[in-house]
Amino acid sequence: MSVFVDASTRLVVQGITGRDGAFHARQMVAYGTRVVAGVTPGKGGQEFDGAVPVFDTVVEAIAATGANTSVIYVPARFAADAVFEAAEAGIRCIVCITEGIPVLEMTRVYAYVKEHGARLIGPNCPGLITPGAAKVGIIPGQICSPGPVGVVSRSGTLTYEVVYQLTRAGIGQSTCVGIGGDPIVGTSFIDCLAAFQEDPATTAVVMIGEIGGTDEQQAAKFVATRMSKPVVGFVAGRTAPPGRRMGHAGAIISGSEGTAVEKIAAFEDAGIGVMQRPADVVPLLEARL
């Protein structure tokens, strides 16, 4: 078991003929993900790597291949439209890797996706992986291993760091979800925590937050009131100055809101095991598993 993606995932890659799309499509195929289709307007009828049919539109891809999940690698100025298209076509889980979508554009995208009953993960995220079953996005497969720990994070390489620590310590993962570093993302910490709480294969959760916004604070409340599984957490950006965008568009302390201090306090109040440094994940989890 796992959350959001698994062996039943039938993936369409939007932007499969682009540089990033092609590279990661191959990585996903190599990992064993069922990449059933690609979409690039104007390239319909071609085959990617002689194996994956390419379509002009997501509607056509779904009709021909039964795709139920999409991953988006198109440039920022086309990415919002790619999400619109996937949602309109009926994709249930849309993973948007692309960074740089304007946040006002995302307000419309989010409303649209919600109306269509789809799940959006990202944008500006590394995607997600259910080790041994399906990798959708760019998380390196070799650092993951199957197991009982759910991982959810706003970050990319920091997630890899934590997952790497887990795998080296022999602690496998049920699903690792990168929810993205933008101010508006389709799937929040709470959405993932709720899914992990429901998932029988997950017995504990690692949550990796950062400065900016209040998603971690709300997640902490959710953990305190709605979760029975143990959670350990990290917050990046204790040393970040206020008012500066720390790489991620969403990683910014606005006025006095969104500091690491307040997030860590919320974690502690909620009984979440707080990692002082990434390496703490192993002892904290081992104490709880």
Binding site: A76, T107, A111, S153, S155, G156, I208, G255
Partner: protein, 382 residues
């Protein structure tokens, strides 16, 4: 991207919001001439820098004549506020104020929508109002599918002004503020104070707009408002090299791939007793050129005592980073110890490249950070 007050005023004015006349000056004599043209008996001279608390810092002064305006401009120009040098002042007639309100639009992350906020307690820091008298803040979530509806704007405006005609003027301003917010691709647009004059007019006395950096590509006219002179030069250089770099005051220069890992690395420097000199993300698909650029910017910072690489190879290939480091050390003298942590994609190749030039690398983040901190404290060791 922050806009200067004078730029934000111009955008609001273009959107049809009543904004008192004003001029921008970068010398005292320009200030004098501007004051003459404005022809008011009392004037306000305001520093144009990207910093809050300008008033408290002495960056806002009254003047009683054009000559006086030149004098106060001379005091303000060149002043340093929050580490930023004042290069321009805005000169405007002093307004007659009957009451001061606040109006602002932000993007709310929780509701994933723009939120329009107003408060009858204007002219002061809105965060302070929110903290001390939250009942004085009124807000509505704007459904982007339908936009700000007229009755919603009027409903908020009636929280500011009892008189319905004045409230209608304010509602009109709120609608135009929302429009300007959208048109600028802003993440924040605010008017503080929104002033009611004794004659019953409603005008915007100060304006602040923060533009979403992701909007700049499709809004060249907004991107052109960027004022590199108002930014840290090393950050301007970094942006031109496609690096995300933020200068801090510490001694450990950090080069990391990924924003979250970069923050975690800085935090770990601090955890082990050091001080990070910067945030620097070389991004996902790094090339050797980016590494060279990063090293060039960090070595230009005289406070840096040690340089720490923390690379977790995923899309980023460790060998690219290693090649960049080697190439940089050939192009210019780094003169600071470098601690390298590399793991992930092509880690083996990277180690080979580095050992070829006598450099070593670690694979553990904690070990690398501890070592870099120790070196930064030892001064220029090796």
């Amino acid at each position: 991207m922050n806009l200067h007050e004078y730029q934000a005023r111009a955008l609001l004015s273009r959107a049809g919001i009543p904004v008192p006349p004003s001029e921008v000056a970068s010398t005292p004599s320009e200030a004098k001439r501007a004051a003459e043209r404005l022809g008011a008996s009392r004037l306000v001279v305001k520093a144009q820098v990207h910093a809050g608390g300008r008033g408290k810092a002495g960056g806002v002064k009254l003047a009683e004549s054009p000559e006086h305006a030149a004098q106060v401009a001379a005091q303000i120009l060149g002043m340093t506020i929050n580490g930023l040098t004042v290069r321009r002042v805005l000169i405007s007639p002093a307004a007659e104020i009957e009451s001061e309100a606040y109006a602002g639009v932000i993007v709310d992350r929780v509701s994933r929508s723009p939120v329009l906020m107003v408060s009858p307690a204007g002219g002061v820091d809105i965060e302070e109002v929110a903290a001390t008298t939250p009942e004085k803040i009124f807000r509505i979530r704007v459904d982007v599918r339908f936009g700000l509806l007229s009755h919603q704007a009027l409903g908020l405006a009636l929280k500011l002004f009892d008189d319905v005609e004045i409230a209608r003027s304010a509602a009109d301003i709120l609608r135009k503020l929302y429009r300007a917010f959208l048109d600028a691709g802003a993440s924040l647009a605010e008017i503080n104070p929104l002033v009611r004059t004794p004659r019953g007019e409603v005008v915007a006395l100060d304006a602040k707009i923060v533009v979403d950096d992701n909007e700049l590509e499709r809004r060249p006219e907004i991107a052109a408002l960027r004022d590199p002179a108002a930014e840290e030069p090393s950050e301007v250089e970094a942006r031109e090299a496609n690096l995300t770099y933020i200068k801090l005051d510490g001694e450990v220069g950090c080069v990391v791939n990924g924003a979250g890992l970069a923050m975690a690395t800085m935090d770990l420097v601090k955890y082990y007793g050091g001080e990070p000199a910067n945030f620097l993300d070389i991004g996902g698909s790094s090339s050797p050129e980016k590494v060279i650029g990063a090293l060039r910017i960090i070595t230009a910072d005289p406070h840096v005592k040690a340089i720490l690489f923390n690379i977790f190879g995923g899309i980023t290939r460790c060998d690219d980073v290693a090649n960049g480091i080697v190439a940089a050390t050939r192009q210019f003298r780094v003169e600071r110890p470098i601690v390298i942590r590399l793991t992930g994609t092509n880690e083996d190749k990277a180690l080979e490249i580095l050992s070829g030039v006598g450099m070593r690398a670690l694979t553990d983040m904690d070990a690398a950070v501890r070592q870099a901190v120790a070196l930064s404290r030892a001064g220029t060791g090796a």
